[in-house]
């Protein structure tokens, strides 16, 4: 706690301890087991359906209806719903079995890609805002952001293998219908300039390359600063400039990525707030993950000058963006609820009717529990409370992404089951392993950063 006196800050070298290695291995193995269980459970098409009805008896009724509706849809076209007017077509119930694997890989890839990108954004914002308090922990986002290529490759594989089953616009693209044909969809045709297979691969690839180059640049500037003399601010100034460039590019492109990859799962539906909502979901998760890493690294005895004050600020970030997440969540829902325009409601209709439990659980895990749990100052300064609430938040936000994708891809009757949990744990393990390895690559303290002293003296007061 800053007492106005000089605090000695020395360079430290992080060692990836066997304990941490074991932890990430356990995560990976657990993930593999769960994912394997999930995949083994898939079986054939019919079996999977009957298995699902056994697991969730209450869902069974819905499922049968869904099947009937899908069948009716094939025969008669759109099925009108008396209460809500024409129902959007939730087709897909008859997807190949392995679609679930590709969809899982896609959300896990997207989730961790966004986590690493948002870490880069966080890092950039610290430079742009001239933030001093966070210098002590700046190596953690710096390590997280190196993860960008891994989830992106996974995402590309998932898209390559499963795009026609995940995105019904991609499926539609293959049909090659003419305006005179039955089932011609002018909305999808109108969007085909943006939603097409070339765009799906080229656009994210180009952006990831740009982001990646900027990430390497910022990291190399940070490394060059470590080797420079103390008091040399040229690297800091350069970092500010590159951070600003990245922030502008990222700010404009991240929404488009969310539209292209996630929102287009319900290709008829659109929401202008969707990109931002996605950003915040991952932003708050990334800050939670960062808090976990800081707490662990401190517990191992590193970063003595990073105190409870820094943890408190991370807790405040978690709390603040939890509220902000809820604000966007409600904003998106409220306007659609009020306007009651059928094509806008499709997104919420299936989620509220067929996934009511998940829908409410999502709100509870991402808002109610963290809001009440982190409201008090003492909670934000207690790392056990942060660990429990943070774990709920991370799972909750992953479940949030799941809820954005799965009902749109599969229609009704899906569960957040072993496979989803398995893939998440598997990638959490890989992510942890990667980040710890990246942390060992350079000193844990940015010794020549001009604001290091300020960070060491950071104090939020009594």
């Amino acid at each position: 706690m800053g007492h106005g006196h000089h605090i000695e800050v020395k360079q430290e070298q992080f060692v990836f301890s066997p304990k941490a290695k074991r932890f990430s291995m356990i995560l990976m193995v657990l993930g593999l087991i769960f994912a394997g269980l999930g995949i083994a459970n898939l079986g054939g098409h019919e079996e999977s359906h009957s298995a699902k009805t056994e697991v969730a008896a209450h869902e069974g009724a819905h499922h049968g209806e869904g099947h009937a509706a899908a069948a009716a849809h094939e025969e008669h076209g759109n099925v009108p719903n008396e209460a809500f007017g024409p129902r959007m077509e939730f087709h897909p119930l008859d997807k190949p079995v392995n679609t679930r694997i590709w969809a899982n890989l896609m959300i896990v890839g997207y989730f961790f890609l966004m986590i690493s990108l948002v870490a880069l954004m966080w890092y950039a914002i610290q430079y742009i805002a001239n933030a001093g308090w966070s210098v002590g922990i700046k190596r953690i986002p710096e390590a997280i952001m190196t993860f960008i290529p891994v989830p992106f490759v996974v995402l590309l594989i998932a898209l390559f293998m499963g795009k026609n089953d995940i995105y019904h616009w991609a499926h539609y693209e293959h049909l090659g219908l003419k305006p005179s044909d039955a089932g011609y969809d002018p909305i999808l045709v109108g969007k085909s300039g943006f939603l097409n297979s070339t765009m799906l691969f080229v656009f994210p690839s180009v952006l990831v390359v740009i982001w990646y180059v900027l990430m390497r640049k910022l990291r190399s500037l940070s490394a060059a600063e470590d080797n420079a003399t103390k008091g040399d601010v040229t690297f800091f100034r350069k970092s500010v400039r590159f951070s600003a460039a990245f922030a502008v590019i990222f700010g404009f492109t991240i929404s488009v990525i969310a539209w292209l990859l996630i929102m287009s799962v319900d290709a008829h539906w659109y929401s202008t707030i969707f990109g931002f909502y996605n950003f915040v979901t991952h932003w708050v998760t990334m800050i939670t993950i960062m808090a976990f890493f800081v707490a662990y690294i401190k517990k191992e005895g590193y970063l003595g000058f990073v105190t409870n004050e820094h943890m408190h600020d991370l807790g405040k970030f978690m709390f603040a963006f939890t509220v902000f997440w809820a604000y966007l969540w409600l904003s998106q829902y409220l306007l659609i609820w009020y306007a009651q325009i059928p094509e806008e409601m499709a997104y919420y209709q299936i989620r509220f009717e067929n996934y009511k439990f998940n829908f409410l659980l999502n709100f509870a895990m991402c808002f109610c529990i963290p809001f009440l749990g982190l409201l008090m100052r003492s909670a934000k300064r207690n790392r056990y409370v942060l660990a429990i609430i943070g774990s709920i938040m991370i799972l909750g936000h992953y479940h949030d992404v799941w809820l954005m994708v799965f009902p749109g891809v599969f229609g009704s009757g899906m569960q957040f089951g072993f496979m989803e949990l398995g893939f998440f744990l598997l990638f959490a393990g890989i992510f942890t392993y990667w980040v710890f390895t990246a942390l060992t690559k350079r000193g844990l303290v940015a010794v020549n950063h001009p604001y290091l002293e300020e960070s060491a003296h950071h104090d939020v007061g009594v």
Partner: protein, 188 residues
């Protein structure tokens, strides 16, 4: 102004020992030594926040957060009751054929009401607690304490060695030493 918190007023107290500083590092060092010597520091008035000083002088945590919470709960209750009375009980309206009870459209009203009550409540309590109510005369010990000087105030107790306290102040760079008693300041 009977409703104002008397605790912050410097009147009706024992004799006060006052040190004036120009430099916050020296002030911190001085405050640290005085506090370690077991002398209770009543308060330090600074023109800007000096980080770490609150811990040295043993300032208690502000109760503003608790007040904010109670204001928020009040606002939430008030707005929920209001919208229920107006929209459900007294004059239900059919707007777009939506249900009237506890719908998402209540959320913005409840939220804004909570924020409004919290913001106003906190402002009022903050000003009230800090004796910044309109019409009250300020009690600056030194006109420069809002500009470039830092003023440390120590209330004397029965067995206090005043000379030692003044010496500690002086050793740590206090530029002026004073006494304050019954509204009269004496420069030493």
């Amino acid at each position: 102004m009977g409703i104002l918190d008397k605790k912050l007023s410097l009147r009706d107290r024992n004799k006060m020992l006052i040190g004036v500083w120009e430099d916050e590092d020296q002030l911190m060092a001085g405050a640290s030594e005085i506090a370690h010597a077991g002398v209770h520091i009543h308060d330090v008035y600074t023109p800007y926040p000096v980080h770490g000083l609150d811990r040295i002088i043993g300032a208690r945590r502000s109760k503003l957060a608790r007040i904010a919470f109670f204001c928020a709960v009040t606002g939430l209750t008030l707005m929920t009751t209001m919208i229920w009375y107006m929209y459900v009980h007294d004059w239900p309206m059919n707007i777009g054929n939506k249900p009237v009870r506890f719908t998402p459209s209540w959320a913005p009203v409840m939220f804004e009401g909570t924020v409004l009550c919290t913001a106003f409540g906190m402002s009022f309590f903050f000003f009230w607690r800090n004796r910044l109510v309109h019409g009250i005369k300020n009690e600056l010990l030194d006109i420069r304490q809002t500009d470039d000087r830092m003023v440390m105030v120590i209330e004397t107790t029965d067995g206090m060695d005043e000379k030692a306290v003044f010496n500690m102040m002086k050793n740590h760079g206090a530029v002026e030493l004073r006494e304050f008693h019954n509204g009269v300041q004496t420069v030493l």
